[in-house]
């Protein structure tokens, strides 16, 4: 504990008796309590937390453990993601892929271990909306878009910004915001459908729209859960292009079962098995790893 923290802790102790005997002592006590140069952890709101990726890593997960009713879903997991990287996570059913996503987004609390976003932000201390606010976006398996809104309106609603009631009532799109929507429309390739109701889109288009809605929130890290489930081959190719185009600007973690798809986008692949990392490396390395072959093909 640093000296400042110790002093703060001391100040907040309930059993402490202040020496209020003289005017001078009272003044000193007051000054101590009101010092401006000190910040208590619990006073910092999630918005003010700044992402620090000076060491090149955006996500640090170390020695993580979770068990559900005795079943170890995550078992001494260590997992790192670099800033701007596109990472694929594969693994058989029950390997802990979704549980890991749940922990990163605050949905599940681990039994032990650490999860840091950049150097400084402790994800395990934040709530789900706070984690969304600091820039971790997640796309769920089943696409949910607002069916009765147009593609444009879907993106507009998802846009980062002041979302309180009255600012929303009076909100007008600025030119910059409109440009951002156009840009995202270009990335997800839905320019022609911009005024179509989202409910009228195909399954693949809905998935892209949802990725677009994530992008509108300007996330640093995107977690994408099974993006190509139920897609045609052409749609898969488009999705691969889309995810590859995000590389560099956003860090992306993709969980996917479809091996062909993973091969088409992956530079680095992490294989999870029984709640911990079995292998990590390029697709070829991973595929030739005898342990991976064993897990996937059985003996």
């Amino acid at each position: 504990m640093s000296a400042t923290a110790e002093r703060a802790h001391d100040l907040l102790r309930r059993d402490r008796t202040f020496d209020f005997s003289s005017q001078r002592q009272r003044w000193l006590a007051f000054q101590e309590a009101m010092r401006r140069d000190r910040q208590f952890d619990f006073m910092v709101s999630a918005k003010d937390l700044e992402l620090d990726v000076s060491h090149g890593q955006i996500l640090y997960i170390e020695d993580l453990n979770v068990s559900f009713d005795g079943f170890k879903a995550i078992n001494h997991l260590n997992f790192y993601v670099e800033a701007g990287e596109l990472r694929c996570v594969i693994g058989p059913n029950g390997a802990g892929k979704t549980t890991m996503m749940d922990i990163i987004t605050g949905k599940t609390r681990p039994d032990s271990g650490t999860a840091y976003f950049g150097q400084k932000i402790d994800l395990l201390k934040l709530s789900e909306p706070e984690i969304a606010e600091i820039g971790i976006g997640r796309k769920f398996q089943k696409p949910t878009v607002f069916e009765h809104h147009s593609v444009f309106e879907n993106l507009e609603l998802a846009m980062a910004g002041d979302k309180r009631v009255f600012p929303t009532l009076l909100a007008r799109l600025s030119g910059k915001q409109r440009d951002r929507i156009d840009e995202v429309l270009g990335i997800i390739g839905l320019e022609e459908q911009v005024h179509r109701d989202a409910g009228a889109l195909s399954h693949g288009q809905k998935q892209w729209l949802e990725i677009g809605m994530l992008l509108m929130q300007d996330p640093h890290l995107l977690l994408v859960d099974e993006p190509v489930a139920g897609m045609t081959h052409q749609e898969m190719d488009r999705t691969a292009e889309l995810l590859l185009s995000l590389e560099g600007r956003h860090s992306v973690v993709v969980v996917e079962h479809d091996m062909d798809f993973v091969r088409s986008i992956a530079k680095r692949v992490t294989v999870l098995h029984q709640g911990s990392v079995l292998a990590e490396g390029s697709m070829d390395e991973v595929q030739n790893d005898p342990r991976v072959v064993e897990v996937y093909l059985g003996e």
Partner: protein, 381 residues
């Protein structure tokens, strides 16, 4: 023009407001300038009836705002309407002064009858119109705010919320039936004499009330359109369609709901306040769950999530009610029930949906491609 901005892309609403404007000119002329012997003459009875329909229409618009656009099926909106009506009724009671049957200068007749010696605290201030007018929006507003804050924060939705709203209006009905509440018990408030110094029985006052109702409907409609076309309106629809998703992208769903719900209750209160001087009575029957359900039927018949559909529904169903209760008094409830079943089965979009379909078909028959629906955008503001 900024003023017309909210009405853009709302053909039904434009037609409705135009008709309202025509009625606001024609009705006074037919009633006051045309001699009573002419077949074109409108009797005071008809003018009052039309005025009453307009207040119902405003009430229906307020229900459509929360049901059609926010997905909250309120089965208790009659409570806000009745509270607004009671606030106005209290003002009208105080205006009677010593002209009551018992001639007490301060106490309304029913209090004298109950042997009360002084005015209950909550009756103070209602001798002033501005105070009563404030209470017309404030009382329903505060009740809706507290109710909404409790219900929406606890994420009560769907049929459970509908049942609670129904319980709310039922509880208020039972409370207002009690003489001890100080609102006239089951007789309610009646025997009004004048409003702002105008004799309520005079034809000109009736016309004035009709015009005030038309104005309130137009302004209320405009305000609802303004909300619906704002980004908040789009958030509301998003909440209606996928509440969890809306929360997930960062909107405080409970606050959006409380805000729109409270606004809707205030509109309902205004409608109630305009209704009472026209019908000349307010009693706890207005709180009855049945009337709140009837009100939902108006909106369903007119067509949800269109706003102008609510106006059509309120006027059409109430005209039907007036006709039926005159011609076949026993048959009305059967007709209402049958109407609801028919609309649910064959016209899920209500009359407004039917009109839209006809419009589209005509556009196709003309050979022109159906006009693409122009989305409400914030562009060109």
């Amino acid at each position: 023009m900024r003023l017309f901005q909210p009405m853009r892309g709302d053909t039904g609403g434009q037609v409705m407001l135009a008709l309202l404007l025509i009625a606001a000119v024609v009705v006074p002329v037919l009633s006051l300038a045309v001699p009573a012997s002419s077949p074109w003459h409108l009797s005071t009875y008809t003018v009052t009836l039309l005025g009453k329909y307009l207040t119902y229409a405003l009430l229906a618009v307020s229900v459509d705002l929360v049901w059609g656009y926010l997905g909250i099926l309120s089965l208790g909106h009659g409570a806000f309407f009745a509270l607004g009506g009671y606030a106005m009724g209290m003002y009208l009671m105080r205006q009677i002064g010593d002209r009551g049957v018992y001639g007490d200068p301060v106490l309304p007749d029913f209090m004298v009858f109950l042997n009360w010696k002084e005015l209950p605290w909550f009756w103070h201030g209602f001798d002033m119109f501005w105070f009563a007018a404030l209470m017309v929006v404030l009382v329903p507003g505060v009740l809706a705010f507290v109710f909404g804050w409790l219900a929406f924060r606890s994420r009560v939705t769907g049929v459970y919320l509908s049942i609670i709203t129904q319980a709310l209006t039922y509880a208020l009905m039972l409370a207002f039936f009690r003489n001890e509440m100080g609102f006239g018990g089951n007789n309610g408030l009646t025997d009004f004499k004048d409003l702002l110094g105008f004799d309520l029985q005079a034809d000109s006052t009736r016309i004035g009330l009709f015009l005030a109702s038309a104005l309130a409907l137009a302004l209320g409609y405009w305000a609802c359109r303004w909300i619906v076309r704002s980004r908040l309106g789009r958030v509301a629809v998003a909440i209606r369609d996928a509440e969890a998703r809306t929360r997930f992208i960062g909107y405080r769903v409970d606050r959006v709901k409380v805000a729109i719900w409270t606004f809707s209750a205030m509109l309902a209160g205004i409608a109630g306040a305009l209704y009472v001087p026209q019908v000349g009575i307010i009693n706890p029957g207005e709180f009855s769950p049945l009337s709140s359900i009837e009100l939902v039927v108006w909106v369903a018949v007119g067509g949800r999530a269109t706003l102008y559909g609510a106006v059509i529904g309120a006027i059409a169903v109430n005209y039907g009610k007036t006709y039926f209760t005159g011609a076949f008094p026993e048959a009305w409830l059967f007709a209402l029930g049958g109407l609801f079943v028919l609309v649910t089965l064959f016209l899920p979009q209500g009359i407004a949906g039917l009109l839209r379909q006809l419009g589209r078909r005509r556009a196709r028959d003309d050979g022109g491609a159906p006009r693409p629906e122009i989305r409400a955008q914030e562009a060109g503001a």
